[in-house]
């Protein structure tokens, strides 16, 4: 028995309590309001950045380089005189895209692996688990480095690389959740009642199995952005002059002792995105928790 069964046991046999929080349609807490507002702000920044700033994030002005935050430049200017606020706002689109896309890629791969492992016969399960372990065993950065070396650097490549590195983790959890849910009473009831396997899978197993992964997936969005920024630090990430939080963080690091605003503001936005996503995930999970019905 592998460690995933530990999780399965935990998930499967720990009955949910009847609690104020685990209720669909519960009242929103102040924390959730704030998180929602932050996400809305970031989403708007990603879709219509012009709403927040009229300055061109790519407009260079070397004579105005390294200006600290001021009324004319809220977040200061960078090493080429570009307005950091404009770059941070415009950076929402590529950064969130990386975070969401990498997580989505990871989740899709994880669903495939996890469902195969959770639902399939024992040999399939064994193989899939081993595949997952192999991907796990390779350091994520090595996977990314080799993948980028083969395909060539760029945002798309690093997004895919980060997604692939994240997949085994999610797959393992999905698989264990599916296994746990398979043994639940309501699934047994559905089998006894003669429901088709597809219906059982689609209506009972999958929703219950996938929901707990949401929190981890939302954690993953922030992690994905951070990983992509580490790849930028190693010289393998976003292509200039794109404003992307991770690349800005990495580029601004050279000037950290004399121009702190170059890294602090993109860093704050990364944290905001990660925090808001995590809160959203928790809120969704609280509302969709299925008590063993």
């Amino acid at each position: 028995m592998s460690l995933t069964d530990a999780e399965a046991l935990q998930a499967g046999t720990l009955p949910r309590r009847h609690d104020v929080r685990a209720r669909p349609g519960a009242r929103v807490t102040p924390g959730e309001v704030v998180a929602g507002a932050v996400l809305l702000f970031l989403a708007l920044a990603a879709i219509v950045p012009e709403l927040f700033t009229s300055l061109d994030p790519l407009a260079i002005s070397p004579s105005e380089a390294f200006q600290s935050p001021s009324p004319s430049h809220w977040f200061g200017t960078d090493e080429s005189g570009r307005d950091v606020f404009a770059r941070t706002i415009h950076g929402a689109r590529p950064s969130l895209t990386i975070g969401v896309a990498a997580t989505a890629i990871g989740m899709v791969l994880a669903l495939i692996l996890g469902v195969l492992g959770g639902v399939g016969p024992k040999p399939v399960d064994y193989t899939v688990t081993r595949v997952g372990e192999v991907l796990f065993a390779l350091p994520g950065l090595l996977l990314a480095l080799v993948f980028i070396a083969i395909v060539g650097p760029g945002i798309v490549t690093s997004t895919i690389a980060v997604g692939i590195s994240a997949a085994p983790g999610y797959a393992r959890i999905i698989r264990s959740q599916i296994r746990a849910v398979r043994g639940a009473p309501y699934v047994e009831a559905a089998v006894v009642l003669g429901r088709s396997p597809a219906a059982i899978l689609g209506r009972h197993i999958l929703p219950n199995a996938v929901a707990p992964v949401f929190v981890l997936a939302t954690l993953g969005v922030g992690q994905a952005i951070v990983w992509a920024s580490s790849l930028s630090y190693l010289g393998l990430g976003a292509v200039p002059p794109a404003a992307e939080w991770g690349a800005m963080l990495s580029a601004g690091r050279s000037y950290i002792s004399n121009a702190w605003w170059l890294t602090v503001f993109p860093g704050i936005f990364i944290v905001l995105a990660a925090a808001a996503a995590t809160s959203l995930g928790r809120a969704m999970q609280a509302r969709t928790r299925q008590v063993g019905r």
């Binding site: 260079i60 070397p62 002059p241």
Partner: protein, 551 residues
């Protein structure tokens, strides 16, 4: 019952980091002014931290790159050296003579020098070294090219050696001054490449005793040293007991280590760090531009769109780099208008070719047929966008330089060029160059003497080596330039030589094949305990022979 909650500490990033930044700047000088001392004292260990990649072989005959030159300067010596005026001065060779036809050079060697393994330095040793460099098994690149015209060597007697050349070579002395053809003990060479790479044996002021990979190289004083070059500050053994040569790839950590006193000298200093150290008494800047080419952007004239000289000129008229260089490099790099380093005596600077005129650029592009514009504002001709790929080696281009390229990208967009910057690692970068997948590139080349122009701009240099490497990235293929370069490399009259090289450079600069930026930056930041450090006028590597410590 829950305990009373403690007041949550609020994270105030702005104020906190602002304060920290201020403290950091003030604390940059916190090691204090060094005690004054004018008399050298013997003793002590100096720690050098390099930001370059660790060499794979400590024998500079093998391969031949700058990190090897940096460390080999401490334990290997060459036949001749150069002084700060550019004059060749004696070192292991005391006299030299060129025959009238230029095909024979006779060198008189010192008779009182031994290698640190006891083998005497003599003409046999020189012959063995030349053979080693030219041997394909050694896989020498830089040294091999430098001695390209040496057909054979002849041992006349212990202190006389003759070089027989296949063609006259006006740059032979320049070449022989470089560490990549330095003289090693023939006994050591016979041990085989693997062992010789670990600990080469020379005549220099220090001896390699240990190499802990990924960690450090240990060099100890050669107590029997007696062969300093003519422009050294003293004679006899070096003052330092030992040098620890470390590799710290991250530039911020390297500088922090210098400030903390953990290391004494660092290289590859970042411009912001150089500027910061100017405010401190404790740390000084040794500015030693590398010889050879300047840091320049080469325009690939071998394929579209840069095969048209008007398009090349338009690019140069639109790329206004002066403000960027000033701000990104904090004033530590001076704009260059020459294809050669400013320490090359025969370098020609031609500022008039590089004036900025966007209107002129527009006119030139219109004249060249790039009259259409697409939806993004880039010019098009026959359905093709005016697009330039620019592979950038993140290993070689520091962040400030990469930012400069971004600025150029933004500026030339105004006249309709699209520049696609492609940051990549070194291997992929060489691959892109070898496959001719570039329109713009910035590639350093370090060599002593104006002969570097032949390597960079002669059409022979477009032919790739088996590995795919070639040096003439702007793919200049001009028979007149070729013949001038060949002639200059053979003529021995200094005035004639200077005139020829000036002519060549004028043609190259007015052909808009290159956009010179600045000298190859080579700044060393030196801690307060270090005295007497200078850079060799040959390849601008620091020599620790005259250095003493005051701790």
């Amino acid at each position: 019952m829950p305990q009373a909650a403690t007041a949550p500490s609020r994270f105030r990033p702005l104020a906190a980091l602002g304060a920290i930044a201020a403290i950091a700047l003030v604390a940059a000088g916190c090691s204090g002014p060094a005690p004054q001392s004018t008399e050298p004292v013997a003793g002590g260990t100096l720690v050098y931290a390099s930001g370059d990649a660790e060499p794979t072989c400590l024998d500079p005959h093998v391969g031949g790159n700058y990190p090897q030159a940096l460390v080999a300067t401490q334990y290997l010596e060459s036949l001749v050296s150069k002084d700060t005026d550019g004059t060749i001065v004696p070192w292991l060779a005391t006299e030299w003579d060129e025959s009238d036809d230029g095909l024979t050079w006779t060198f008189t060697l010192r008779g009182d020098v031994n290698f640190t393994d006891g083998t005497p330095f003599n003409a046999d040793a020189v012959a063995a070294n030349v053979a080693h460099v030219l041997d394909p098994e050694t896989a020498s690149s830089t040294g091999y090219l430098a001695l390209g015209k040496v057909a054979s060597t002849e041992v006349v007697d212990d202190t006389t050696v003759r070089f027989h050349l296949s063609a006259p070579d006006s740059s032979l002395l320049d070449s022989l001054s470089m560490p990549w053809v330095a003289i090693q003990s023939p006994t050591a060479l016979e041990r085989g490449m693997d062992e010789n790479c670990q600990s080469p044996v020379g005549t220099g002021p220090f001896i390699v005793t240990e190499w802990a990979k990924q960690d450090s190289i240990t060099l100890v004083r050669n107590d029997d040293y007696n062969s300093p070059p003519a422009d050294a500050a003293h004679e006899g053994a070096a003052w330092l007991d030992q040098i620890t040569w470390r590799f710290i790839p991250d530039s911020a950590s390297r500088f922090a280590a210098l400030q903390a006193g953990q290391v004494d000298v660092i290289d590859n200093a970042q411009p912001s760090d150089i500027a910061a150290s100017e405010q401190s008494d404790a740390i000084t800047d040794l500015d030693a531009p590398r010889p050879g080419a300047s840091n320049r952007i080469e325009l690939n004239s071998g394929k579209a769109p840069f095969e048209d000289v008007r398009v090349r000129e338009a690019f140069i008229r639109a790329a206004d780099v002066n403000d960027g260089i000033e701000s990104l490099f904090f004033g530590t790099a001076k704009r260059s208008y020459s294809a050669l380093s400013s320490i090359e005596a025969l370098g020609l600077a031609a500022e008039e070719h590089f004036s900025i005129d966007p209107a002129e650029a527009d006119a030139l592009l219109d004249e060249a047929g790039w009259t259409g514009r697409d939806a993004d504002g880039y010019r098009v001709k026959d359905g093709q966008r005016l697009s330039l790929t620019f592979p950038v080696s993140t290993n070689q281009s520091i962040p400030a330089e990469q930012s400069l390229f971004e600025q150029i990208q933004a500026q030339v967009k105004n006249v309709g060029f699209e520049v696609i910057l492609q940051p990549m690692d070194l291997s992929s970068w060489y691959g892109a160059l070898g496959a001719n997948e570039y329109n713009l590139v910035s590639a350093p080349y370090t060599k002593v003497g104006p002969d570097v122009l032949r390597i960079l701009f002669h059409s022979d240099s477009i032919i790739p080596a088996p590995s795919g490497y070639f040096a003439n990235h702007s793919q200049v293929d001009d028979p007149e330039i070729d013949s001038l370069l060949t002639e200059a490399s053979e003529v021995s009259d200094p005035e004639q030589r200077a005139a020829l090289y000036a002519d060549v450079q004028e043609r190259i600069l007015s052909g808009y094949y290159v956009l010179p930026l600045y000298d190859q930056q080579n700044h060393f930041l030196v801690g307060g305990a270090v005295n007497g450090l200078r850079a060799m006028p040959t390849v601008s590597t620091p020599t620790f022979y005259d250095v003493w410590l005051t701790r």
